[in-house]
Symmetry: C2
């Protein structure tokens, strides 16, 4: 007989992990959720969530995270504040080694460590996040109605979102470090044909300007080195996203550039290991589908646990 500390360990306390936790605790599984900071994930730092269904007027990210957490607590979800150092997910007993040296074991694991947007890492960016600096056009576009804004980036997402942003903003400057886009031709052509979009070629943003809100950006010409400023009210930084996978044994999990591959039941390539939320290899990264995946992952975990012995 296999002996483990828990039936299920959930790694990460964002919307996917907390939803998996709500389902698992309510199903009376022996489960613990590991979280290194405050539960809630990226949502905690999201100023306003407009499109999570159930809140007609929207809700602050902080409040929404708190509601998820309170709901998990109502079902007595055990939560452990800790940092995960490494894992061995092969074999029937899954081992999770914490930074302090403790090892936790379980029969099943749901991986929900999330992801984070790439940042420009320039002065003013962190300070004005949520105050004009955004990393998600689907989330925040409607907040910029009638305003002049910019997009930093030149890939498919950046250009698609620039086009989307023109439905709201009066002008969208696309700031790109090269003199041509990486985006596919059809998307480029639509962007070039859109008279609200202006391209600022061979340029990088070196500083976000503004006191309490974004008022402009400082630009540097990558060829001449000349500096200019551009007055605007919003900057969308759309230069990719990277997975929070530092603690994951990627050699044990099929993945796509570090994002974990799953089937529709959120099962990874490793038996007993599910993944949900932004860590997954996918295109849509919204709170509501992270939560939905968390529920599906929990039911897959229950099914896996039910198949043991």
């Amino acid at each position: 007989m296999t002996v483990a500390n828990h039936q299920l360990i959930i790694v990460g306390g964002g919307p996917a992990g907390l939803t998996a936790g709500i389902y698992a605790a309510r199903a009376m599984l022996d489960v613990v959720l590991l979280e290194k900071g405050a539960a809630g994930g990226q949502v905690m730092n999201t100023d306003w969530v407009d499109n999570y269904p159930g809140f007609p007027e929207g809700i602050s990210g902080f409040d929404l995270a708190e509601k998820f957490t309170a709901q998990a607590q109502r079902f007595n979800l055990a939560t452990k504040l800790c940092e995960v150092a490494s894992m061995d997910l092969s074999g029937p007993i899954k081992k999770i080694v914490l930074a302090d040296g403790e090892t936790l074991t379980s029969l099943a694991v749901i991986l929900t460590p999330g992801a984070r947007p790439n940042e420009l890492n320039i002065p003013g960016e962190k300070e004005l996040k949520g105050k004009g600096v955004s990393y998600c056009a689907t989330c925040d576009a409607p907040f910029y109605r009638g305003m002049e804004i910019a997009v930093a980036g030149g890939g498919n997402t950046a250009i698609q979102e620039a086009i989307h942003l023109t439905k709201f903003a009066s002008k969208v400057s696309v700031i790109h470090r090269r003199d041509e886009l990486r985006a596919t031709k059809i998307i480029q052509e639509k962007a070039f044909a859109n008279d609200k979009i202006e391209f600022v070629w061979n340029s990088i943003v070196t500083e976000v300007l503004g006191d309490k809100e974004v008022e402009g950006v400082r630009l540097k010409d990558t060829k001449t080195g000349a500096e200019t400023t551009l007055a605007l009210q919003g900057l969308f930084v759309l230069i990719g996203i990277r997975p929070n996978n530092e603690m994951l044994p990627l050699d044990q999990l099929d993945n796509d550039n570090g994002f974990i591959k799953t089937d529709k039941k959120m099962r990874t390539s490793q038996p007993g290991i599910m993944a949900a939320g932004d860590i997954c290899s996918k295109e849509v990264r919204q709170i509501v589908n992270a939560a939905g995946e968390g529920a599906v992952a929990c039911l897959a975990a229950e099914e896996y646990l039910g198949s043991l012995k």
Copy 2:
């Protein structure tokens, strides 16, 4: 150039359809949602929703449906009360024919018509529906406080709900046509350990007895053919679910016993046609994953619309 009434039509106003609608309307798509009754889908008839993340104390199904609807209305989602008679989803212009003869056209369609519970189709069942015959333990369990009731079925839902019902009923007989359950082990073990639950193996319900209210059921032994009656005050029929696909052109859509097959982006086999929620071929049918799928389907629709011309 293609001419259609709308960019997008959403068929069905449950959690999946309303979430797709929230996303589509917020993204300023030219979209209309078709709904034949009150928006909200099955949720409307659900007494208490305990596990939709964001409501720590739970919320009534009616209130949750109203919140989804209000949120869609805030983004000015156009909604049309109508019954869909048939569809032609092949070709670039999608045609939706209404029961009154009107034809609507669009470039993309999201199918969210939902599903409904299977019935036993035995004498007395329809007559006593709502008078002791129920298809939703979550909705009706509190009406059976202190009563003796039965559950027909042996799957996960049936056994989970049987356990739930013991919180109210004095005794729950689980009537199952075989001598073992299909439900997962952990759920079975809980049911076997629950002394309010009694199993009636190898039996089917052949008639619901009672004049104005359920007074009992007639049972037939599937092995011996022997008939018995069981006195009780409530019968929960929990024997699966079937898709609301009467208006769908199943010859144009890959499907699994009438449930629509999708990829992870919720795209069906037909270009420009997405599906989300209970109509999909899948195992987990919860509000939160229906909603998550609605969001993903909307973004797939946007991507499809962006690829046109």
